[in-house]
Symmetry: C3
Subunit: 320 residues, 3 copies
């Protein structure tokens, strides 16, 4: 890597352990002194485009930007704007009012940086897997683009998770990280689970994934992890347990089971006495995870949420 | 009061005449020179959380914050965020997507100060009276919280009203203040009426409250006021007349009458020639209050609205 | 014009060629150095009031303001606020919750400048033509008001268009400008077409307007233009072709035809080889205008959108 070239062009996925570590280290140094680079972004603007609703992500990105002197402007395009046409060559005589080409092009002239949230359809697997909306914004805006969760990844969440794991890993040994599926009543995207697997493996932690049969994730993200269908066995001696629901990938977007035995409780952690428990929030209490864990000393969920600020700040700082 | 300790921890109610007077005086001094403390809040952020819609309150709070160099970030949690679960121990397998504990905890790590609007249900009297949502934010955020109108009080409105009364009281004598119920077609919360009574009595003005039978307010707020069912008698020699609708308190949340004789007009003020008329806005013209009064020289409603900025600025300044 | 008096009081329409040229020149100079007057608006605030949704207009206005050090605060009054009562003397016992008089009055005390978007009803012609909502804000706010598109005009769009035409006019000769109606599936306001005609004629360009019979615009705006019903003849030797849909004016708010032969394609421009094509965006591709034109070298649409920033900045700069 040439020292004069930027670390990354866009922020959509795990790139390399070296880059991951640089982003983590920068984030931790911003956490100690958030406004140390307050003049770095002066006069620059980031457009935060939400095609889906957001609270934590929106606020943490606004704070991250303004810690760097970058002005954030939020566009809720699901409500304030209008339905975007995604199809090349479409005859726009129906409900969509602007083509993504034109919208992305204009936003590219208005901002120095875009940050975009665009969930998957969970119905069109091929389009979701191509990360279509996010890719279109990169293609037509002509400026650096940050993923605030795309159809298949949520890299800022994972970067915040890696920061949190590093902060809570005191010993030299590789931590044992377990990603466990938890029950939910809705069909939930794979983005958080995919990215968590991608980053955990990329940072060379020891990763075990456990879930009911039928909930296998895309191997593109999980290759290198141990897949263990027995949750109890998977959790043994875990240092970090990440709880997350996702819908079927093979049986795409489907809810295969809501078996409440999979909800993580203290009883599940009898053989993992020192395990810290993680979740990206929002969490459905007593459905995905029990109150006793969330309100107890194992929980890192508030720390993960706080680290979202410094994850975003580190990324924005490298892109401006 | 130790001079090194803060004047207030949170801003949810009237505390004492001494504190009230300090807040009024600070507000009046900010009105004369709004940006005199522009560096005081540099690097600090206030999260403005709206569980209910707002216009005047939202804008005046943003302006107040930015006059102090504090960055305001608005969260419309009814729309941009998601339905909060309020019940301890709830199994969250229905419509709510995040528990107030978790949301408040995260917001507490993101901001230096929270400002929250949360209306009452007007159906669950016990929960409303416990000021449940506001109390939960204080409990779980761990940072100072300002009420932008809670289930039972609207203290920033009342502080703005007290500023306005002080600005328009030239003589030494105690002003006679009358709070009169006005008709409305909707069931309206008690918060403005409660707070106005609490602050007017707290600041030791002479308060008369008049309303049709059945509209008695909670005595917790009105103790010390004269209750006079004859509106005409109540209004005699008034210096300030505050017009406000509220729904039943004993017959909780109900509309008992919409009798248009209670709508304040010039005819009602024949025996109060110098009375100034107040209303917190938005006002339903020719239903609560006549055009002739609102467009005439008695009306202080625009001045009250303007003072909302300096009320908020005074409170934020004392909390940072 | 006294050199000490402001160039304009409000920004709602074309004033004179001299003022138009000053606004264009100032905009072009801001485009070269956007933050040159960053201290000019320090401590000032513009309230951006949207009675109708907006994306490009909202963001370009926010950027323009902040380039001048002016703090923009956005109010989406269709959603965040409430339905405004417009009728003088109304008895407000129905759906409207605040009279425009009161709302405008308060906003006038909160801001130094207002910028307002208020579309026409397209059903009440007389009220639309009186530019009622915009006029009421001027009347009751008491501060300078900028149109972000009113019932009958969209002057910031037209100013951006004039900047774009000037930037692309290299020769001395008057450019031939053609405004051509394009098909659409919805009833669209006349504001962009009206303003474009008003400004193009005002800046003394040579203007031809072409549209199917029945789509005649208000002569108040088009007087001085050549009206040519034969689109093909109108387009001959055009230097700039502005494509825009509008609904009927005589048959008010009606869709008279959606004839797809009127959609501009390369085939239409065989006799206008050097024509540049303009559109205010959002554009319905392959309905109003073909992909081949929008993606080709004739298209100025992205440049027009970019110039929206500097048009707004020039106007705000002259009003503060």
């Amino acid at each position: 890597m040439d020292s004069s070239s930027p670390l990354i062009q866009h922020f959509r996925k795990f790139e390399s352990k070296e880059i991951g570590q640089k982003l983590i280290d920068q984030a931790i140094s911003y956490k100690a002194d958030p406004r140390i680079h307050i003049h770095k972004g002066m006069g620059k603007r980031v457009g935060c485009i939400f095609l889906n609703p957001s609270l934590r992500t929106r606020v943490s990105t606004q704070i991250a930007a303004s810690n760097l002197g970058v002005e954030p402007i939020v566009l809720n395009m699901d409500k304030e704007g209008w339905a975007l046409e995604m199809k090349e060559g479409a005859i726009m005589n129906k409900g969509t009012v602007e083509h993504i080409k034109d919208a992305a092009g204009v936003l590219g002239t208005y901002f120095d940086l875009l940050a975009i949230r665009a969930f998957p359809s969970l119905t069109n697997k091929e389009e979701d897997m191509s990360d279509f909306v996010f890719s279109q914004f990169i293609k037509y805006s002509g400026i650096p683009v940050i993923s605030l969760e795309s159809a298949i990844r949520h890299p800022l969440q994972s970067l915040a998770d890696m920061i949190t794991i590093q902060e809570h890993t005191k010993e030299i040994k590789k931590p044992k990280v377990v990603l466990t599926w938890g029950p939910h009543i809705k069909a939930i995207p794979h983005a958080v689970a995919n990215s968590f697997a991608e980053w955990t493996l990329g940072m060379e932690h020891d990763l075990t994934i456990t879930h009911p049969a039928g909930y296998e994730l895309d191997e593109k993200f999980t290759k290198g992890a141990t897949i263990e269908y027995n949750q109890s066995k998977a959790l043994e001696d875990a240092d970090f347990v990440y709880v997350k629901n996702w819908s079927g990938f093979n049986d795409y977007g489907k809810i295969i089971t809501t078996d409440s035995n999979w909800m993580l409780t203290e009883r599940h952690l009898l053989k993992a006495p020192n395990a810290k428990v993680m979740h990206c929030l929002p969490v459905r209490r007593n459905l995905e995870l029990s109150d006793e864990i969330l309100d107890g000393s194992r929980s890192l969920v508030q720390k993960q949420a706080e680290n979202r600020i410094y994850a975003a700040q580190s990324v924005i700082s490298h892109l401006i």
